[in-house]
């Protein structure tokens, strides 16, 4: 699936939820799953400074694609990260660099990703794009 297809399927998945509670319960469930990152990368170098919840992000190239792993100390943040990564991880730098994150808005989580929300998610998304561009540059050399 392309990034866009994955995003669309996510949007569809969320249309199931009539109630905010079901939606958040699902996100919380996702957030409770195993750490999404190797413990050794939960270091200051991979910490994204958000004000309230801390977010760690690690990226590596595998067969021409970027694989992201991440974590957060807040479970809801972690759940949203897991949604994000489901869409953008394991894609080529080029596709990630061009990806459109507006699906977040469509699944009704816009507030979480407003730049005014100091939960580290916005910085994480910026970081994802930065990684993609850096890997793109490296490849083109």
């Amino acid at each position: 699936m392309t990034i866009e297809e994955k995003a669309n399927s996510l949007v569809e998945e969320f249309q199931m939820f009539d109630e905010w509670m079901d939606k958040y319960s699902y996100i919380i469930e996702l957030g409770k799953e195993m750490p999404l990152i190797d413990e050794k990368y939960k270091d200051p170098q991979h910490l994204i400074s958000g004000c309230q919840s801390r977010v760690w992000l690690y990226a590596e190239m595998k067969e021409g694609k970027i694989v992201f792993t991440a974590d957060s100390d807040a479970v809801i943040t972690k759940g949203i990260i897991s949604l994000l990564l489901r869409v953008v991880s394991n894609e080529t730098p080029k596709d990630i660099a061009n990806a459109d994150f507006s699906f977040i808005e469509e699944i009704g989580l816009k507030d979480h990703l407003s730049p005014t929300r100091a939960n580290g998610l916005v910085s994480m998304m910026k970081q994802i794009k930065l990684y993609a561009k850096a890997f793109q540059l490296k490849n083109s050399n």
Binding site: W20, M21, S25, Q52, S53, A74, V75, T77, H112
Partner: protein, 405 residues
């Protein structure tokens, strides 16, 4: 006057607001309070009827605006029982008031001198002093806090000395709610000739402030945390101290005469008020203080105490509830954690149910670090909050905890 919560609530138009289709329950009053219609009306009235620049105008509007502006100063002086209205400097907020004093102390602090603060200070009453000390090679000393949220008075006693050039501390902690025994502390400091600045940002709307009784050298607050407008604040300073301090910003009414070679500054308080003053802000602040006066600050304190007690009891029924700040002397601020659930998670779910609380370090990072926690959830009350709202909040909290379990 009797205390009629329904009547009070009706004064605040925003309380009718719904969020996500649910009735707003606003418990983020420590960050900012809402404004009664009286305050909003005073702004509309000013801009619709006698808006003007003040001082030195010969025309009627200017005389009216100036009179109203200077009457505001008198009212504020009266409200905190200052001896003289020249002791009231209008600023942009508590943060600016503190920065003004810290900046003006640049010339009064020397290498090796000490500045005393406490470990419960808001960044606004911490960083200005830290930077002052850095610039002047002085020492920042910090009175520690005990586990219950009270200042450690034994430490404090040991830290007072002639070396201390100023002691800056909060009247009430914005995280813990602790009411510091400032009258006693000020008297102790005076024994060593130490001037004391009180950060009253969290106090002015919640208990009686009498600067002459306290005998503090400086007292600061913001209007927006006391039902008043944003962008307005007060610095009270004893006449002899204000006279002694250097101006902070230059331009406008703070100048008495200028030539290209030399400038003479105006008298207090004007010498600290550079630029066109915020007349509307002053009038709206007075409207807010009159609103408080009208209900009666003691009635407010009593009512909020009841809310605090009620909410605390209800919270403590919850499993793994951990209240941070358990001083016997506190105002209606409750910081808490539940088990090791991250505050952000609880705050997010409460928000979905219409309950506005604050989560995080509340701009008091050293204090939070001191407790080794990731922050807290803070519910802080104002005069318009009700027991019904507390009940709803407790229900919402329980629902959140169930979801996060």
């Amino acid at each position: 006057m009797g205390f009629n919560i329904d009547k009070i609530r009706a004064d605040f138009p925003i309380l009718k607001r719904k969020v996500y289709g649910k009735q707003l329950v606003y418990f983020d009053n420590g960050a900012t309070t809402h404004k009664p219609q009286q305050v909003i009306d005073s702004i509309v009235d000013y801009y619709s009827n006698f808006n003007s620049n003040v001082h030195r105008g010969v025309h009627k509007l200017s005389v009216e605006a100036t009179t109203a502006f200077e009457d505001s100063r008198k009212y504020v002086a009266h409200f905190i029982n200052a001896e003289d209205d020249r002791e009231i400097v209008f600023t942009r907020g508590a943060t600016e008031s503190i920065n003004l004093v810290a900046n003006s102390f640049l010339s009064l602090i020397n290498k090796g001198d000490e500045v005393l603060i406490t470990s419960i200070e808001h960044h606004s009453n911490l960083v200005p002093w830290q930077q002052l000390c850095e610039k002047k090679n002085a020492k920042l000393k910090v009175v520690p806090v005990s586990d219950d949220g009270n200042l450690d008075m034994e430490f404090l006693d040991n830290m007072l000395s002639e070396k201390v050039k100023i002691f800056a501390l909060s009247h009430i902690s914005n995280v813990l709610g602790t009411i510091n025994p400032i009258k006693e502390i000020i008297a102790k400091a005076h024994k060593f000739g130490i001037p004391v600045l009180i950060d009253g940002a969290q106090a002015i709307a919640h208990l009686k402030v009498d600067v002459q009784d306290l005998d503090c050298e400086f007292y600061c607050f913001s209007a927006h945390k006391a039902y008043g407008p944003m962008g307005f604040g007060v610095l009270y300073g004893k006449k002899e101290w204000l006279t002694r301090l250097q101006p902070y910003q230059y331009g406008g009414e703070m100048i008495s005469s200028v030539s290209l070679d030399k400038t003479t500054f105006n008298e207090i308080p004007y010498k600290f008020e550079a630029g066109t003053p915020n007349v509307s802000g002053a009038l709206a602040t007075v409207a807010a203080l009159k609103y408080i006066k009208n209900i009666g600050i003691d009635n407010i304190a009593k009512y909020e105490d009841d809310l605090l007690e009620y909410a605390t009891e209800k919270l403590l029924e919850i499993d793994k509830m951990r209240i941070i700040g358990t001083s016997s002397e506190k105002t209606a601020v409750i910081s808490f954690l539940v088990g090791d659930i991250h505050p952000y998670d609880i705050g997010t779910l409460l928000d979905q149910m219409g309950v506005a609380v604050r989560t995080g370090n509340h701009c008091a990072q050293p204090l939070i670090d001191n407790y080794c926690i990731p922050g807290t959830i803070r519910a802080s009350f104002a005069v318009y909050n009700s027991k019904e709202e507390v009940d709803y909040f407790i229900e919402a909290l329980k629902k959140s905890l169930a979801m996060l379990a």
